[in-house]
Amino acid sequence: MRVVRYIGKRMLFIGPQLFGIILVSFFLVKLIPGDPAVMMLGPLATEATLTELRNEMGLNLSLVEQFYIYIKNLVLHGDLGRSWQTTRPVTEDLFLRMPATLELITLGLILGLLIGVPLGVGAAYLKRGILAKFSDYYGLLAGALPDFWLALVLIFFFYTILGWVPPPLGRLDFFTIAPPTVTGALLIDSLLDGNWAALGSAAGHLILPVVTLGLISGGPILKMTQSTMDRMLESDYSRYEEMCGLPKSIIIRHALRNSLPSVVTIVSVLYGFLIGGAVLVEIVFSWGGAGQYAVQGVLNADINPVLGFVFFAAVLSLIIYLIVDLIYFAIDPRVRG
C-alpha cells in the first residue's frame, strides 16, 4: 500500500538525519570551553590526578576517535556516556527527566489548542465581531509575552497573593510519596497506582506551568487557525457550497476540516520547539525536566548530558514530523495520490 512505502522511505531518512545531528552536535559541543576534569576534582587537584582522570574519560584521544567511541557505545549498547554532575548514565537521567518535560508540553499544547482553535474558528466566522478583534489582539500579544516572565506573574498572583496553588518547587510536595514510575508522567502513574494523594499534588503543581505554556502557545495556534479558516471560508468551494444553499454549519465544518493540516503543522512545530524551549518555565518551576538538565550540562561543560538531550530531542522531533505526515495522509486524499 502506498502508505507503507511512504513510511518506509521516511524511516530510511531518519537514520542519516540522526547521524547528521549527532555528528554536528558532537563537534560543536566539544568546543564548549571548560575542562571537565578540573570541574570534577576542583581547582586544588594536582596535575597528575587531572591527567589521569582525563585519560580515563578518553579526553586525551583525538576528537575523531572520541566520536567513534561515542557512536559505538550509542549504537551497540544505547549508552550515551555518563554525566559527571549526576555521576549516573545519561540515558538513565533522561528517562527520568524527559517524561516530566513531555507531560508538561503535551498538557500545555492541549490547553493551547482548546484556546486557539475555538477562538480562531469563531473569529474567522464572525468577521466584524468583537471576537475577531479580541483574537487579533490575543494572537499578537501571546506571541510577545516571554514565557518565563508570564510564569513569574502567575506565581505572584496565584501563589504569593491568593495562595490557590502549591509553591513552584518541583512536581510533587515533599511529603507525598511518588507513584512507581511506569510512564514517567506523574498523572498517569498515580492513576495507574490509584495513589490519589500523589494525583492531587501532581495536578496542583501542573496547573501554573501548563497554563503558562497553554496561554503562550495559544497565540500562534489561534493566529494559524484564524488565518487558515479565513482563507478556507473565502475559497471557491466554500462560496460554491453557499451558492448551493448548504447550511452555514456544514460550510464551517468543511472549512475547518480543510484547515486542520495547517493547525497540525503549527502544533508539531511548537512541540518540537518546546522540548528545548520550555526550559525557562522548567527553571522557574524548578521542574527538573530534560531541558534544565541540558542547560546545566552546557553551563558546567558536562558534555554527555547535552549530547544525550540533543539526541533524544532529535528522535522525538523526527517521530513527531512522521506522525504529522501520517495525519496529512489521513486527512488529505491529494497526498495519498
Binding site: Y237, R239, Y240, E242, M243, L246, I250, H254, N258, R334
Partner: protein, 328 residues
C-alpha cells in the same frame, strides 16, 4: 417585450443597479439599470465581455454579491416574490434547490476533501431533508443522468482525480439534483475542450428541457448562444443593449456593439475596420452621461453623447438600446 404567452414569467429584474466602492475614486458601477424577464422553460443567453457585469448579475440573482459590492436600487422578482425582502433562511432554501448555479472551473470549486458522490448527496440531503442512504441513491442516479463514464467508481473519487469534462458533469449533477426551476450557467463550459464542450452543452440543454426549467446562460462566446439559446441578450458596461429571439438577433443584429462583436468573430479585417473605432482604452465606458458605448461607436452622434438611450422595441421580440440602430 411581447406579452408573455402561456408560460408565466419566472424571473423579472427591473432597474437593477449594483456598485463596488473603490478607494480615492467614485464607486465602480457594475450594473447600471438591468431590465430582464425570463419566462418558464426558456433558455436565455447573456453575452458580454469581461467587466460587462455578467457575473455580478448572476450573483445578484443569488443575493450573494461579493463584498464590498452593494445593490443601490432595483428589484429582482423570482416566482412573484421580491428576493430583497426574503430572510437569510428563505434565501438559503432557494439556493441550490429552486435556483441552481453551474460554475466554470469545477476542479477548484469542489471541496477537495469530500468525495464527489457525497458532495452531490449533501445538496439533496439538506434541501430535501433526506436520510443519508436515500440521498446517496439519488446522487448515484444523477451521476448516471449526466452520463459520467463508470459512475460507481467515480462516486467515490475526489475532485482532483477527475478530468475537466467529468468535473463539469459532476457540477451539473449538483445543480440539477433538486430539479430546480431556474438555472444560472456562469460561463460553465469556458474551461472545456471543444469536443467535450459540445457533449456537455447537449446534455445541459436536454436535462434543462426535460425538467421544464428555465436557464440564464452567461458566456463570452456568442457562438454557443446561436445553437443552444431561445433568446440572446447582449450586455455592455453594466446594461443590456440588445435583446431578441436567437433567429431575429443573428438575422438582423441592430446594436452597433452587437455588430462589432459579430465582426470580431468573423476575423475579417475589412469587416472589422467598418465597425471598430480605434480608441484609447482609458476612455472606454468612462462616459457617465449619454450612451456608454458612444466613445467606441462608429455611428456615435452628438445625440448619443448627450442623451442616454432607452430600450426601444423595434419588431416582435427584438429591442435595442440605441438612437441609430442598424436597419437592413
Amino acid at each position: 417585450m411581447a406579452e408573455n404567452s402561456a408560460a408565466g414569467t419566472i424571473l423579472n429584474i427591473e432597474g437593477l443597479n449594483v456598485s463596488y466602492p473603490v478607494y480615492e475614486t467614485d464607486p465602480v458601477r457594475a450594473l447600471r439599470g438591468i431590465d430582464l424577464k425570463v419566462r418558464e422553460g426558456e433558455i436565455i443567453g447573456l453575452v458580454g465581455e469581461s467587466g460587462s457585469g455578467k457575473t455580478t448579475l448572476a450573483r445578484s440573482i443569488m443575493q450573494l454579491i461579493s463584498r464590498p459590492g452593494r445593490v443601490d436600487s432595483g428589484r429582482i422578482e423570482y416566482d412573484g416574490r421580491d428576493l430583497a425582502t426574503l430572510g437569510e433562511e428563505e434565501l438559503r432554501a432557494l439556493r441550490g434547490n429552486d435556483i441552481a448555479m453551474v460554475i466554470p472551473n469545477p476542479r477548484t470549486e469542489l471541496n477537495p476533501l469530500v468525495t464527489v458522490g457525497m458532495q452531490i448527496a449533501n445538496v439533496a440531503r439538506y434541501h430535501l431533508s433526506l436520510p443519508r442512504k436515500e440521498a446517496k441513491k439519488m446522487a448515484m442516479a444523477m451521476l448516471e443522468a449526466v452520463q459520467i463514464p463508470d459512475p460507481t467508481r467515480r462516486f467515490k473519487a475526489y475532485p482532483h482525480e477527475l478530468s475537466g469534462g467529468m468535473a463539469q458533469r459532476v457540477v451539473m449533477a449538483i445543480a440539477l439534483i433538486c430539479s430546480p426551476r431556474f438555472i444560472i450557467s456562469d460561463d460553465a463550459t469556458s474551461g472545456l475542450d471543444v469536443t467535450v464542450q459540445t457533449q456537455v452543452l447537449e446534455l445541459l440543454q436536454d436535462l434543462v428541457q426535460q425538467q421544464g426549467a428555465s436557464m440564464l446562460f452567461i458566456t463570452r462566446d456568442i457562438g454557443i448562444t446561436a445553437h443552444y439559446c431561445h433568446q440572446v441578450a447582449i450586455i455592455y458596461a453594466g446594461e443590456i443593449v440588445e435583446l431578441a429571439s436567437t433567429q431575429n438577433f443573428f438575422d438582423n443584429p441592430q446594436h452597433p456593439y452587437s455588430v462589432m462583436l459579430l465582426s470580431a468573430f468573423s476575423h475579417n479585417p475589412k469587416l472589422r475596420g467598418l465597425w471598430t473605432k480605434v480608441v484609447d482604452a482609458a476612455l472606454e465606458g468612462a462616459a457617465e452621461s449619454g450612451c456608454y458605448f458612444a466613445a467606441r461607436c462608429v455611428r456615435a452622434s452628438d445625440k448619443c453623447r448627450a442623451e442616454h438611450p432607452d430600450m426601444r422595441e423595434m419588431t416582435d421580440a427584438h429591442s435595442v438600446r440605441c438612437h441609430h440602430p442598424v436597419e437592413r
